[in-house]
Symmetry: C2
Subunit: 133 residues, 2 copies
Amino acid sequence: MLDHMGLSIGQVAERTGLSVHALRFYEKEGILAHQVHRGPGGRRVYTDQDLAWLKMCIMLRMSGMPVPEIRRYTDLVRQGDGNELQRLDILKEHQERVREQMAQLQECMDLITHKVSVYQDYVNSIDARAVGQ
Amino acid sequence: MLDHMGLSIGQVAERTGLSVHALRFYEKEGILAHQVHRGPGGRRVYTDQDLAWLKMCIMLRMSGMPVPEIRRYTDLVRQGDGNELQRLDILKEHQERVREQMAQLQECMDLITHKVSVYQDYVNSIDARAVGQ
DNA sequence: CTACGAAGTAGAGCCGACTCTAGGTCAAGC
DNA sequence: GCTTGACCTAGAGTCGGCTCTACTTCGTAG
């Protein structure tokens, strides 16, 4: 086992819920802010920062940001100071998309809730009749 | 053009936002409640009910219900009265998933909003400094 | 009578995001 | 010294949901 600082890919998989495959895939896709350090035998050693960054990427993915756009954002961060406005733009755009997505979902939810209550009433009325007999 | 009742596939595509390809695909996948009537030359003629059903399917898809599950639901409806409890189950399950999805999205939204405000403040502070010079 | 546009069918292709396979290295434990 | 298990790489495969292709058939307009 590695010493107390530095996590193996398996440990990161456990902590993030991603598969080791997905972790390697993300790395290949260039969405890790800084190159992952390698330990003996060429094994990946993740820092806590790597973990934190990954967790943010997971949030972005969960909310539907495509991998290539996460890479664009990551690239900006990697390039360092001076491009904060561009980073902000990406985030704001995504924020807008998430907002729309939530509105849509809410609309769907309203419809579903309506249908559920209609069916529930119907089912209840059938039950009541059965009991009454 | 078809007479006032009955829509062509193109008209349905327009009204639903789906492509004609997608409409044929949905039909092949069996997610139309009732078989689409055919007009002269074997062309599809959609009724207003078909349209309404499609719109509901679109809501279910938008909220992430997989096509096979929409089919399961559709099959129940096609089979007619007596299986309302099963329909209700499908809807309730989906409702739960949508609820979870919205909670997740909200979590992501909170993170993004936080990051946006941090970057916004930073960008503003840079601007202020530039103006002050 | 020719051309066009909108429809039809069957089936292949595409895209994104993983997921898995094959074959290999290495350290620890029996 | 052999097995096991976690890791490595490169690249192939999968899956869902369309999307597109190829080719045909109509009905109307020029």
